[in-house]
Subunit: 356 residues, 2 copies
């Protein structure tokens, strides 16, 4: 499965490269920001894992589809959507690192600071954020251009456009809730958190690309529905793992600073359970750490041991077990060739055990 | 012409209403932000002049098209794109008013301030900006859903998607330059300013909707090219008028505070010529006013009399004359029914003489 995904990644990279190259010339007619932002975008895209993009091809081939180039093109569009969301999210969450390097608005901060030979300056920071918002929008337009120009029937194209626009709309709403609770002290309830994981990560990361591939293959509604539900389970598992890595993962592997979820006071399920459980002295310390300006290594070690002591780690592990089991059951019932079931199971395995 | 535009506006309003209403139910499954943001978006859309949306129908009927509902649907999508850009632009330009009421991110500031009973707070302001970025994205997804679901042939749909994604991409690049020069002291050169006016306003506000209507009517390439060029001339005229109104217009008519271009140090052609011309004591005062925290009534009166004394006002008037004349010449050569030429000439007239 990992070989399959990385092969698709390399094909999507090629496609993105051929798409963006001729655009540079065109963009330079407008102004210098055009080609510059396309360069940054391409470099940014190339550093992604491209799992979402590869899953379009996966869903397509699994459903017996033969439209290989079209699936890759939709996958490339998927990666551009993902880039757009990450670029905007990083501005909202004030995350200066992404994929092992400065995030897009952080790159513009660096550029402006060196151009005007100045250090911290709220005016220039705001300008850098603004340039980042624009590049996110640019990525969205490029994504829709790629998606809209696939060689397919009218009915397939319109089904795809409806699928993408509707799921992306839901991601937008989910992101509002996510950013809201990231900016205030209150936490959403368990149910709200799981709904967020479902719409922001689950349906978007797994259901959407798998279903897009299925639609391109003209798969029956029954299979599309199963893929939709399977994606939700896999996605919630993926997000829970993401939260775990945010606390237990390795900085270098992840390409972003550890504890950034804690610093930005992200209302993860870990945090929710921890705040439900911890009392007394520890509670005070926990409250200080979530939303703190920075974390020391020992703060992180304290939080790590606390989630274990309080069985919060175990409880979330149990939830991951459940999502994993659900996903395995759905896969067993899927009416596709056994080789694809095997690969889906490997993907579940990967989601459960990944280290970055 | 104005009757025609306002009739189309009312039809586009109806269409937007029927599109957004059933979505509310759907959005409320996700969270409370969904229906809330759709309400705000609808109210925001309804307050627009909807010239761009109406111009799609105009271009369509002018080219002999009979697809009335489809033209309105593309017009509604056009208004959603416009809303998305305005929402993001107001965050970048820190404009708290739009269309006579608080801009979207300003509405979220008010909501958060009343919910948490607090006054100015950079953390909540950032959160309000973030919610605004999301609503802009949501508007983009809704726009593409409307555009992607029109009842038309594959070839028309793909031509429309290509036209929109490419022109919106150029707007994104132009916006980067605009926001950059809005955030620093330097001004772009005359040529760069006019290029900005061409891509951010001209092609986007006039060429794009007129051509979209033409494509829907399957107009020949020769007419589409003429509309493209006509739109640029009309758009540059429109933008120069916008700059003029920013200095000479009436606050109540415009629905935004006068002098906001001066406060945000927007690098208009007025500013460029003024800085080229004014020397001595006046120069010092001009430099202080552009980018000042606020403007007094007498500051504005000073600037108004200065652009007249220095003939900057006259010079820009001359440029508007030229754009107007170009547009009139192109209209005379257009191969369409005289009634449409008459209306186009009225539109040029309106662009030249509007007060809001």
């Amino acid at each position: 499965m990992l070989t399959y995904l990385s092969e698709k990644k390399s094909q999507i990279k090629d496609l993105l490269g051929s798409f963006l190259s001729p655009l540079r010339q065109d963009a330079s007619r407008i102004n210098a920001w055009g080609p510059d932002s396309l360069d940054r975008l391409q470099e940014y895209l190339y550093r992604g894992k491209m799992i979402r993009g590869a899953l379009v091809s996966f869903g397509h081939e699994m459903c017996g589809g033969m439209k290989t180039p079209q699936a890759l093109q939709i996958g490339a569009a998927m990666e551009l959507f993902q880039a757009a969301f990450l670029i905007h999210d990083d501005i909202m969450d004030r995350d200066l690192f992404r994929r092992g390097k400065p995030s897009i608005h952080a790159q513009y901060r660096d550029l402006l600071k060196s151009r005007f030979e100045t250090s911290i300056n709220p005016q220039l920071d705001h300008l850098a954020d603004s340039l980042g918002i624009c590049v996110g929008d640019v990525a969205l337009f490029l994504a829709f251009e790629l998606l809209g120009s696939i060689d397919a029937s009218l009915s397939i194209l319109q089904s795809l456009l409806k699928l993408f626009t509707r799921e992306l709309l839901y991601v937008g709403f989910a992101q509002m809730e996510d950013v809201y609770y990231g900016g205030i002290e209150d936490s959403p309830e368990e149910e709200q958190i799981l709904s967020l994981y479902k719409y922001k990560t689950g349906r978007y990361t797994f259901s959407l690309p798998l279903m897009a591939g299925g639609i391109l293959a003209e798969a029956p509604a029954s299979i599309l529905n199963t893929l939709s539900y399977l994606g939700e389970r896999m996605g919630i598992l993926f997000q829970l793992k993401d939260d775990e890595l945010g606390l237990f993962g390795d900085t270098e592997e992840l390409g972003k600073p550890i504890g950034s979820d804690v610093i930005s006071d992200k209302k993860t399920l870990y945090r929710y359970y921890l705040f439900q459980t911890v009392k007394g002295e520890d509670r005070k310390q926990v409250e200080e750490l979530f939303g703190a300006a920075y974390l020391q290594k020992e703060d992180l070690l304290f939080l790590r041991s606390l989630v274990k002591e309080t069985k919060v780690h175990e409880r979330i592990g149990g939830l991951m077990d459940q999502m994993e089991q659900d996903a395995r059951n759905i896969i067993q019932q899927l009416d596709v060739d056994p080789i694809w079931k095997e690969r889906l199971l490997e993907l579940v395995e990967y989601n459960r055990n990944r280290v970055k």
